[in-house]
Amino acid sequence: MPKTYDVIVVGAGPAGSVSAKYAAVGGAKTLLLEKHPVIGYPLCCAEAISKSGLENVVKPDPKWIATKIEKAKLFSPSGKEVTVYHPDAGYVLERKIFDRWLAQQAANAGAKVRVGVDVTGLLRDRDGKIIGVTAYENGQQIEILGKVVIAADGIESQIALKAGIRTLLKPGQLQSAYQYLLADIDIEPDTIEFYLGNSVAPGGYIWVFSKGDGIANVGIGISPMKSPKKKAVDYLDEFIPRRFPRHQILEKMVGGVPSHVNDVPLYKDNILVVGDAARLVDSLTGAGIANALLSGKIAGMTVAEMVTNGIKADVYQKEFFRLKQKELKFYYYCRDIYLKLTDDDFKLIFKFIYDVFNGKTITAINPFDVVKKILLSHPRLLKLGRHLLT
């Protein structure tokens, strides 16, 4: 075991494990640390990912694919339904297996992997330079030396904050989320459903993501600003008996999903931040797995080059933002509009989507185009979203 690692990756979720794999493949002496005794659990995730979001980084493997998504249904506040067929849209993952599989890839690539190690702080030298981490393992405080640290420590990230990267969020920048894994339900195996409306899920939406075989992730995200008293789980518990008169509960989980976050720096000196720790979550949809995988890959590759060729960490931020900043900013501004939508606005949007998409088969979707067309479809929507069109 080396005295000093080239890189210490804190957190073995998708972002951390992919970082560790690419760092190791690139020749960096890599250590991947996970505070829980099990990789892949606990989870706080609806587990859906687009085809490109997954396949840009990882080749699909049936071992961890719960279902292939072939169609989507959208429901308005009044219950109007839009069905869109989108073959090969993406997947709903079985992340308990996916996360472990990713860590396995890192291990196979030469990364050292340790579980039950809770990293609590950064180790600094006399000049304040970060030279490693402090952690708890088996009840003892330990120190591990590393030249670079990748903070992949999720929603509850503290490492980046301690390095001086402003990952702190305000309550308005998080969705309150709650999700059940339901069994014995009436759901088509290849379908995902979305329910919108201010009394259904204020500032967010309810999702039903089939995992095949009569089970589904059924969850909700709301904006706590729009509903300070009534909790996410209360809305969900009202919805479930209506949609699923027959159901059994196999899992339940709470979550906080970053939303409405813009321009968090992705590095400082020799600390890189990836995935949920970097708040790389689409502000409109709450989707985060694809960003975790991509940021992990680029960060890992950058760290390997830092070690072998002396490049600096800013290369990671530059490359990731080159690929993703426009999209992240776009969703950020969409969220501004989304939070202002009244149920009448939802009616207008549904009318447009119904007229254009209902019953249609699509093979690719350009969110920029769709949103722009929606905004142009009615003067009230145009007024709300004019700035997005310039």
């Binding site: 706080c44 929603i155 990230s157 305000k170 308005g172 309150s176 709470v254």
Partner: protein, 83 residues
């Protein structure tokens, strides 16, 4: 269990029956009061300044903020600074 009180008198009471270990409260705490360990959430009340952001965000309604008299500080509406 009586939690230790800090100089401001604030105490974060954690209902472990409700807390789902999601970490949202940790993400919003400006003072580093909260830490999500391997099994449970813990609060270092000495650092708490009573901003209520954790109470506002908790999806599970698992957190209560109390002042030195033991009164629970509720969230009636949300301030612009929390947005």
């Amino acid at each position: 269990m009586k939690a230790a009180m800090n100089k401001n008198g604030f105490v974060i009471d954690i209902d472990y029956g409700r807390c789902g270990n999601c970490g949202a409260c940790v993400a919003v705490c400006p003072e580093g009061v909260l830490h999500l360990g391997t099994l449970i959430l813990v609060a270092d009340n000495n650092k708490c300044t009573g901003c209520k952001r954790c109470v506002i965000i908790c999806p599970a309604d698992a957190l209560k903020l109390m002042d030195m008299t033991g009164s629970v500080l509720t969230v009636e509406s949300v301030d612009a600074k929390d947005l």
